[in-house]
Symmetry: C2
Subunit: 667 residues, 2 copies
């Protein structure tokens, strides 16, 4: 059975576009033939599907033996061209998808391309799909499923809405290089070998095991983790004052759940960002930093997407919360504000010796208290996992996977103590945190928090100045919510909760495992180009580094960070101070920022920007947990492409040779 290779006519309609209004029309359709059924002796029904919808084909015996034989013998998932007449289906037979209102009485059928049998799997059989890994190998079949097809179409619609909204607001789309230079921030950058090379400096030759071996030093491009430097240089140039790009970015990190080595961000940057129409009145809404134009742009964008795709009218402006408040009330820098269970700071309720010890350690105590009268989440509290998790804090080591319903383990320098007062007054609980005995005494906790029979509480220490993305009880709070949702006690609000979190600490005590710039004590919380809040500039120059807050803003949706950005440093001296005095970059490291520093010196305007994770945003809009469902050809968590069988060995040694490299010999 072979398909058509010669001329055939144009389709007149897509399957999905047909409706009752087309009844009586003669149409030419193309699509995939799905499994049919025979009704009585003379009538066949076959669904015909294209990427727009599905119509029912009716094949009466009058169509002729040849056509009847062809259409009933064509393998499922073959592509055909069908000519016929549209009629409206009886109400009872109408189906609630595009094309579902009509049927086509077939007059002729041409086989365009037969599908082999058996197929690896049948994409239209949604209830019988093999495992994702198998389907990824045959992505060209899997994408035929309406779900994935719909996701890709939605992604395209949203991208176009974004572009149109940004163009309407005077944004200029500019493509920045993908073959860029590696930066000292970029220990996770992919390198691209080139045929260009430099002579190796003698110092490098001399450390070679075989001192007389010579080699030319290969030269590399690097793939950008984000277009941060190009976009700042672009705005500094003045060529455009509002830049955007739906930009491909690359990060070579160890396989983390739901990450891709290449991903897409909605990237924008604006010149002349300000404090608003009237700087002195701008603060009543909690936005106490610059970059109002960025905020307004993003709120407009998000509002228009939710309006068009979800039919939801979001508020004109989104709530704003400082990092300090978010950490204090929710124990998270991306709080999920769809439910309560808020944290309290309870240091002052403990006996004086405990308070003194905490002060010496520069620590405070946070608590979640569930009074007996609170009716929920009560049954969640019975889950053993909760106790296990809350009391095994010190031995846990990862809290990465909090967005999902899976049970997280908890990490922290500080332990959590769980205390329950049973109905008979017995106090139970404690933690394995032996380092701070008083808090480990259930009775002390009961007294401090005035717990009565039926109450449950968690307490945990944290450093007085909040640090990082979450506290121990912030994680307990999410765990509690997940468990309560699982038991059905908690149903989250359906309206999306958008929230700006601002005023992050500009610098963080360096974690040498995570930050390769961390020579000194401080590293940039986000990146070294973020401007301090102007109220904190003096502190920054006077060495009160921990107190300096940045003009950074994160956009949070339902507890998920969907984007972040900042007002940038535009003052070259200040940028230089940050590089040299605070981050203590070496001259060599600084040299990779030389062009940016010089661009600031050439009259760069004040500027700021933001980047939203487009894959994540689309996963939310498509109501899927996995960003792979919104990417046409995704890679696995391990970074392999099962369809294209990539990465792969180089074709030959000669290929590497022209790039001046070779496989590394192990000694």
């Amino acid at each position: 059975m072979t398909g058509a290779t010669g001329p055939f006519p144009r389709r007149t309609h897509t399957c999905g576009s047909l409706s009752a209004r087309d009844a009586g029309s003669k149409v030419t359709l193309t699509g995939w033939l799905l499994p049919g059924r025979k009704v009585g002796k003379e009538l066949y029904f076959f669904p015909l599907k294209d990427s727009h919808g599905t119509v029912q084909l009716v094949v009466p015996s009058e169509v002729g033996k040849e056509t009847l034989e062809l259409i009933s013998s064509v393998p499922v998932e073959s592509t055909v061209l069908v000519q016929g007449t549209v009629s409206e289906r009886p109400s009872k037979q109408k189906r609630p998808y595009p094309g579902g209102d009509v049927e086509i009485t077939v007059t002729a059928c041409t086989l365009l391309n037969p599908a082999e049998q058996p197929l690896p799997f049948t994409p239209s059989d949604e209830h019988n799909l093999p495992a994702e890994e198998f389907r990824l190998r045959y992505r060209y079949l899997d994408l035929r499923r309406s779900t994935l097809s719909g996701n890709l179409q939605k992604r395209s619609r949203v991208a176009h809405q974004i572009r149109t909204a940004l163009h309407d607001h005077g944004f200029v789309e500019v493509e920045t290089p993908i073959l860029l230079k590696s930066t000292p921030e970029g220990a996770r950058e992919f390198l691209v070998p080139t045929r260009l090379s430099a002579s190796a400096p003698s110092s490098e030759t001399s450390i070679s095991a075989t001192p007389r071996a010579s080699f030319t030093q290969p030269l590399f491009y690097a793939l950008p983790q984000s277009p941060q430097q190009p976009k700042q240089l672009l705005i500094a140039s003045g060529a455009v004052d509002r830049y955007y790009q739906i930009a491909r970015c690359f990060r070579d990190e160890d396989g983390r759940k739901d990450r891709q080595p290449e991903f897409t961000q909605i990237d924008l940057e604006m010149g002349w960002v300000s404090w608003g129409d009237d700087p002195s009145h701008a603060r009543s809404d909690g936005w106490r930093i610059g970059g109002r134009e960025v905020r307004e742009t993003i709120e407009y964008l998000i509002r228009s997407i939710w309006q068009k795709e979800e039919g939801i009218e979001l508020p004109e402006t989104f709530k704003v919360m400082t990092y300090e408040e978010a950490m204090r009330r929710f124990g998270s820098d991306k709080p999920d504000t769809r439910f309560g269970l808020e944290l309290q700071l309870v240091t002052h309720r403990f006996p004086e010796p405990v308070q003194d010890a905490l002060a010496t350690a520069d620590q405070v105590v946070e608590a979640i208290v569930l009074r007996g009268k609170d009716t929920h989440p009560r049954s969640a509290l019975k889950k053993k996992e909760l106790y296990d998790a809350a009391t095994s804090v010190s031995s846990a080591h990862s809290a990465e996977c909090f967005a999902s319903h899976s049970l997280p383990t908890l990490r922290g320098q500080d332990g959590a103590c769980l205390v329950r007062v049973l109905s008979d007054g017995t106090v139970k609980g404690g933690s394995k945190d032996g380092s701070f005995g008083a808090l480990n005494s259930p009775e002390v906790v009961r007294d401090a928090l005035a717990l009565t029979p039926g109450d449950t509480a968690w307490v945990a220490r944290r450093s007085r100045t909040p640090e990082g993305g979450s506290t121990v009880l912030g994680r307990v709070r999410l765990l509690l919510s997940n468990l309560a949702q699982a038991t059905g006690e908690l149903t989250l609000a359906t309206a999306p909760h958008f929230l700006w979190v601002t005023e992050f600490p500009l610098f963080t005590r360096a974690d040498p495992d995570k930050d390769f710039l961390a020579h000194g004590r401080w590293s940039s919380t986000h990146h070294p180009f973020t401007a301090p809040m102007w109220e904190d500039i003096d502190r920054m120059y006077n060495g009160r580094i921990s107190e300096v807050r940045g003009q950074h803003y994160d956009l949070v949706l339902n507890g998920v960070e969907v984007g972040g950005g900042s007002v940038r440093v535009h003052d070259a001296e200040m940028q230089e101070h940050i590089f040299s005095k605070i981050l203590q970059l070496s001259e060599k490291e600084k040299s990779t920022f030389a062009h940016l520093l010089h661009a600031l010196r050439c009259g760069a305007p004040p500027h700021g920007g933001i980047a939203l994770g487009f894959d994540r945003l689309m996963a939310i809009l498509c109501r899927t947990e996995s960003i792979r469902d919104v990417i046409a050809f995704p890679k696995t968590g391990a970074g392999t492409d099962l369809l294209f069988k990539s990465p792969a060995a180089a074709d030959s040694d000669g290929t590497l040779q022209q790039y001046g490299i070779q496989p590394r010999r192990s000694s």
Copy 2:
């Protein structure tokens, strides 16, 4: 002098948006301060420029000493925030650029960021610009020039027009992977090392100089030269039936004039492409192949761009010419049809022995004849370069740079013979092509072409079946046109001449230097997925390979190829035949196409597509010779980025180590 780091208000207008209608308004503006001048004792004028336009600032002495001093001492190209009142300029002082109709009487001025002095160069001083290489190092200053700024803004407008037009036509934007797999076609693909590795097969270890050294085999992604395979797989899947992407592509080729290692193409692919509404009537317009939907889409796109950006109404459909006709009449597969000077085939006019010899060699003779009565291009003919070029064909070796006005040298296996008949009847001319004596006799040529005094003619041999991109006389024709334009004798039509060239030979005798798939005698003229014309399918299966024409189409504008595409093979057996029997791919090479073959077997629809070179298209629309002028951060012809100083050595040996590679030691 330091700039502002604290709060400042929002600008109310851009400089370019102000017009006489705004007279009387109080405005807040931001921009770059350009050199001013003093008029009389009390009035200063300074132009203030932003990316939208330039307004004149008037600084009266009433403004106060402080502001006066600030604004007159601020270094040129500093950024300032200015408050003032708009007034209309007297007609005589109006300037023909955005903002040129008004002036601003300044009431206050804030320095936002001072520019250092001296700057490397002053972008506003367009008549005193340093060489391009110097400016590329300071691209952030160069982009401040209105020309480049305008190019980037135009590029963004055109990109958005394209996207909007495609969305309106049901196209879905889909992002395809940039981290892809290398293909056997892809000897010019960039590789990206990964941390993943495979154990090296023993055969590779055994060729090592030190047989006992072991290594793991590093694995690589490759950057795509185009999204050809992903887009075909996407359409094969049926997820979308109209795909587009403004796609970044990568090609690692030796520096050729005006090429970039990364470039952008408008890439699209359509399922169900057909022969039109009525296949039997479709041929009257010269389009005798499938893929009508692609043609119509591109014509719509191009028409709407030219209408909106150029104010030109292009014809509803573009002319179509077969490759055979283009080569015969113009000696080029991308003919510039804005002028005549057409070629003729004159084989039959030569004496029988010459014809016999030509037949034996399977050759024909092409000619350009300029009769004495033709008034142009006469003085161009006097140029010595023309003679030199036409008579030095055999020693020439490159004809790559024909689009420009520079003098090309000619390449070809066949020589060109130039013959002039002087006014006294003397015959002059000849070529250095000693291999075919008869044509080198000026008298024989004169007689064959019936040349009379004052006539000039070129003749050249070429193979009977035209091959490649141009013939000798096709190149002479362009040279003649360039010279005639230089002398002012020829002025080309201003209306753009768009043209489709179709029916290319599907296979080409392999040039082993250029085509790494060329194991057998044949390689694909464009790529191995192009479908044959259906009339030629039997020939293809019967080994008459040279006679098989492909369903390929190139879009040509004024002699420049701006895009190309084809109807693809959708029949797996046919694709397999092409891979195995014609291109003679090895099993290993074929295996890299295994997923595509299988996708065809899973019921792929007939499909076709096209890609337009976006950088080249924008260079044409921006009237610049160099695509670097339409790219924000371009690389040099050698592939270096002078701004970001890329490519560069890897940070450390450790960086390479984690990718399992090391610099190649020379032995």
